[in-house]
Subunit: 114 residues, 3 copies
């Protein structure tokens, strides 16, 4: 079982839902890679609308109809573990935004981590 | 009406959608507790997929089909008000991740707060 | 094409899904304004439930049935570009919470930005 130190980092990856990596959704590939590398966890959020590197928005069209909805992937772990992941993600992400923030871990409880 | 100072904290709680507290969804119990304690607000986001303390992911199964989707609860308030909440949440959360980040409040407007 | 410096800010706007601006959803108006101003991107997330300045919650009613679900809009850009946006958003947001956080940009890739 993974134990998180009090000072961690929050990695956030903004990509598009339609982005692909080796034939599967890029967000699934990123989560699988995160899992394989042993990070404590990953969460994928899907946005309602958006624009940017992660999701093209045509001004003449209703944003809601976009088939490329924004995806935000969040990973919290130690600075070392996050740094170890970055080169892998760097190869996978063709378009998108990757940010880091400092977070304090108040509690991390995990009974059985598959 | 609650007034937020410029320097606040963002509390983020990562749990699973299927987590329960006294027979109801844990995320509902946490939001009700936050409301009762008088914090300025709480927002619950549901993830599309994920793994970690908050949500078990079996590598042999399609992640999307998980019945334990990740939930992120966000609460912004003063450091004092957040600290006052932590012991209550500590009792309620059996598995999950709780993080704190510093945020600056640029605007907080509330006409009628139920 | 927009280039992001390594030190950026994450602007987060918490409003309600039913908030309006000049007849259209406020979150759409905010994203359109962000796009017009040339910021690198914006992402809109919809919450499952919540309460606060952005979304009224009546304790006597099931939270899930709320017709005013919380919306979180996230914009990452340089401090200068974010500051330039704030007065515009200030006029548009009648009820809500606006926060700023420092973020480090690790990667920003954009092939064709419409």
């Amino acid at each position: 079982m993974n134990v998180l130190p009090p000072e961690c980092e929050l990695l956030r990856i903004f990509i598009g839902e339609s982005d692909r990596h080796q034939g599967k959704p890029l967000y699934e590939a990123i989560v699988a890679e995160a899992k394989k590398s042993g990070v404590a966890g990953a969460t994928v959020l899907r946005g309602l609308m958006g624009f940017g590197a992660h999701s093209r928005m045509h001004t003449a069209r209703i944003l809601r109809l976009s088939e490329d909805l924004p995806i935000v992937i969040e990973i919290v772990d130690s600075a070392e573990n996050i740094q170890a992941l970055l080169p892998k993600f760097d190869e996978m992400i063709v378009e998108g935004l990757v940010t880091l923030e400092k977070v304090r871990v108040i509690a991390y409880r995990c009974q059985q981590n598959a």
